[in-house]
Symmetry: C2
Subunit: 429 residues, 2 copies
Amino acid sequence: MTGSRLDPWIDSYAARAMGMTASEIRALFAVASRPEVVSLAGGMPYVDALPMEAIADTVQRLLLTRGSVALQYGNGQGDQTLREQIGEVMAPVGVSAHPDDVVVTAGSQMALDLVTRVFCDPGDVVLVEAPSYVGALGVFRAYQVEVRHVAMDDNGLVPEALEEALAVCRAEGRRVKFIYTIPSYHNPAGVTQDQSRRERILAIAQNAGILILEDDPYGLLGFDGEVPQAIRAMDSESVVYLGSFSKTIAAGLRVGWAVAPHAVREKLVLAAEAATLCPSNFAQLTVSEYLRTQPWMDQVKAFRELYRERRDALLTGMQQLFPPSTTWTVPAGGFYSWVTLPDGIDATAMLPRAVSQLVAYVPGTGFYVDGQGRDSMRLSYCHPTADRISEGVRRLAGVIESELELIHTFGNAPVHLPPGPATPGPDLA
Amino acid sequence: MTGSRLDPWIDSYAARAMGMTASEIRALFAVASRPEVVSLAGGMPYVDALPMEAIADTVQRLLLTRGSVALQYGNGQGDQTLREQIGEVMAPVGVSAHPDDVVVTAGSQMALDLVTRVFCDPGDVVLVEAPSYVGALGVFRAYQVEVRHVAMDDNGLVPEALEEALAVCRAEGRRVKFIYTIPSYHNPAGVTQDQSRRERILAIAQNAGILILEDDPYGLLGFDGEVPQAIRAMDSESVVYLGSFSKTIAAGLRVGWAVAPHAVREKLVLAAEAATLCPSNFAQLTVSEYLRTQPWMDQVKAFRELYRERRDALLTGMQQLFPPSTTWTVPAGGFYSWVTLPDGIDATAMLPRAVSQLVAYVPGTGFYVDGQGRDSMRLSYCHPTADRISEGVRRLAGVIESELELIHTFGNAPVHLPPGPATPGPDLA
């Protein structure tokens, strides 16, 4: 047998597995999940706000009345009734889709995986925002896709930068398979494309004949009550739209979906069947019954209020306590603000000191494939209460001040980066 | 834009997507799911036998007491308590594994996908039984793996044939990544490896330094009360073991698992996180609570009795009614018998006529990658009642007799095969 004593199979892995190494920083995030730490790192929705008794009754009734369906295999595309209901859930963002063009997945993460599986050969290029969702970067890495970042501003993906990136790829003869974007309440950047920005991005993609992969887990979670219209609302043939119940109902159900042009949808279903046979009927019918019997949109509105209050606590705290040269984005919805630290501070190097001061965040480098983001961090306000957020910001402000003092006294020291992507596990990011 | 009017993205797909085409035979299986058809095609467990009220109460209690965990993201490897309980569930098949070496997945299909993702580059070879599980063949196709079939007999995978296949690959300089086997109550072949057969197969794999991927969804479902010991029970370093709650609890939960050598387990978790972030806490905690509070092994015993009675109905019917030159395997557990038809009958060509006579099965070709199996079919006895099975066999015997008469009168006509793999969707296969 070849291989080492530590791993007899080390010579047997696929090429794609070479990048699959755990990051040292994970241990740090494990510490950060201790209750005394204020975690501004996680992306966990505040499920305690859910009407737990109503959900418990819903599931109980479901099992008593349709248990033999809920506990059985389903079809690979997902439950027909749920796919119809997903049409209603997407109405506020302007997406109308026939149930035949909806594919239900085990969370929208799985939809990301399937779209990449169907479209991307190793070495293909995808264009993503700078910074981008860490879970998407993980998928692209798993399929050996070359990720190229495109600049953002306070209005999201910059059209001129997108055009330039496409021109560069064209000049290099590189195949761009799709543009991956989160137009609304971006994770991690906390910004939102306005309508004219969306139109320009779509026009650029259409002109280039490039698919847009629109990821929209937060679309209904805007704080001013207005719901941005999805790019998919303007074009059903050039856009694959991804939605999720993780933030509007519950992440633990793992129910998301993709809306795709007909031929693409067919491939997604076949890929999904290879991946998991079928989505869970138990979870799907729970969502379906919840949508049918509960005031789900009222619950979404309650989440909006809750997250707005927490965002305000974060913004107020940063305004009052962060050093003047710190900047951040002001999210109009969703879970995150993106913070740029004063010159010379390295967010990755600072993290262990922050955790020792009982506050955690995700360093910016995790949201890039190319080492950008050392001066940045993502702060989330979705899970801790407003009071805890204020306390977390106070601690973090102290850590930043200490870093600045160190820099003023000793100058910048070189930093040893931990290997691997600097991101927490899914229960934290 | 390139592409066609039917599919504007047709030139954009990955190479692996080229094989993703739906089979025409699917429409036939859709017809076969009508209630007047006796389906001996599906692999759906008989979930109506579950204690539905107890499960409904279990889930309700779970949500009321631990709803904020059940509805939240979990960790990528799966719930710690459930991983410990899986250790107990595997005790009867002789597998002892530390919870750290267990990875929970969305059904064991996902574990199949992850193992293949971690080990197989396009063009790598895997050795599988002839015939083999259609869902595994779908995964291997999705990763562009070259599948080579190895002969079986009534005692399962034939060691001499395995040695020969390995020798051929060695001579060709081809890399064999693993041997995929279902030792107990094989799907679709209905046979079981005895202990000495398992030992020989393991020894061959160890000598060749080749991993065994042991798929064991039916291991607890033997009809004589004896539980075959898993190959993994003999060697924890050369075997990845896959288990599932789909047949012992409920398929609709989509909870399965892999037990892997430590280094492999680490890669599986990272691959799983890219695929779905984490398994569903809702489903995992439901399983965990069910195992903790319900007499789950008594339920497994009830399933054994139920399926044995149905197997007996199938075997008795075939014995009484099938033409003498028909042969079949006698399953000692699980869901399936493999039937070889009289000379000249093509099971794929016969299927439309069977469905018109209101009985369905899966033609043998779906369980091979190379066109073998035209004279064979898989009959399942897991879902219809014994009476319905008897009726289904009666109808099927009539169809086979008619085929024989046609052949005697007109000889064999050439048959037009539908394109694509001849398999039903997951709710049927």
